[in-house]
Symmetry: C2
Subunit: 170 residues, 2 copies
């Protein structure tokens, strides 16, 4: 509230983008866009007895093959029990392989099987298609801004984690 007031009294031409109304519009845009963002994979998953959690697990195992359960837990930000349920079904169904660590035999290193990789491709291509269309419609400069705002929105630890993620060789 005090924040808002300061903005309104300064009103340094450029600060209009910090108006409560502008912020509210941004919040609503996030809500609607995220709903669309998840809609395409959700549709595919619905027919397979899987959910969003399975998609996320497949995604991060794909991006970093051999990562440990703890590492995945850390990225996803959920509890062990929550992930375990998802992981168990993926392993049972032969989409994910869990290999005992060679240096440290307590660790389980996660890999996608061919079947798992196929589903991951199908899901992420659906999601990328929407993202690609949005990026193309908005243009490179808008995309840069999009990424900047999203990164600024993350918790600092998450942002550090995100920024340190290696690029995938295509």
């Amino acid at each position: 509230m005090a924040e808002t007031m300061r903005v309104h009294t300064l009103m340094g031409e450029d600060l209009l983008f910090l108006t409560d109304d502008k912020l509210r519009r941004g919040i609503e845009a996030m809500f609607f866009a995220y709903r669309a963002f998840t809609a395409d994979p959700d549709l595919i998953l619905a027919g397979l007895d899987y959910g969003r959690a399975h998609h996320r697990a497949l995604h991060f195992i794909h991006r970093d093959p051999g990562l440990t359960v703890t590492a995945l837990l850390d990225v996803l930000g959920v509890t062990k029990q929550s992930l375990n349920r998802v992981l168990r079904t993926l392993i049972e169904d032969g989409l994910v392989e869990s290999r005992v660590g060679r240096r440290d035999r307590r660790e389980r290193h996660l890999h996608l099987t061919e079947k798992g990789a196929a589903l991951e491709r199908r899901l992420s291509e659906a999601q990328r298609a929407r993202m690609r269309q949005a990026y193309r419609a908005a243009g490179p400069q808008a995309v840069a801004g999009f990424r900047q705002v999203l990164e600024a929105m993350m918790d600092p630890e998450t942002r550090a984690q995100y920024q340190s993620m290696k690029d995938l060789p295509e």
Copy 2:
């Protein structure tokens, strides 16, 4: 896949932002940012026996006082039953008032009570604080791009709905 190939062969300097890797980074940014985006209100709601659905209902009733249940249903994109459970608790707890329509007495027009408005303010101020900080950090040009990409990502009907929403008089 054909899509990707075309990008790589054209490679018109500016089209690098449509690389599969760039798209994947955007997807991950959405995931992490949305998690942060909902974290602050979630924390407040946790102590009150409410959830995200309650927040969303309060938000849209606040933004458009007197809207009907069907209109709210349409904005939220959930089933009547799902909304009804949420709405019932909000009405029972005295946060939302349901008034019988005067023109059409089948309709229920939804309004926030003083108590409901107070919670809505508390929730949305928490969410705005994060958005404000992100906007400030990224700057006006980035914010414009952010909004453009989010809008382009929405389903066309949702986008039309979003764009036709009236601005709230502050």
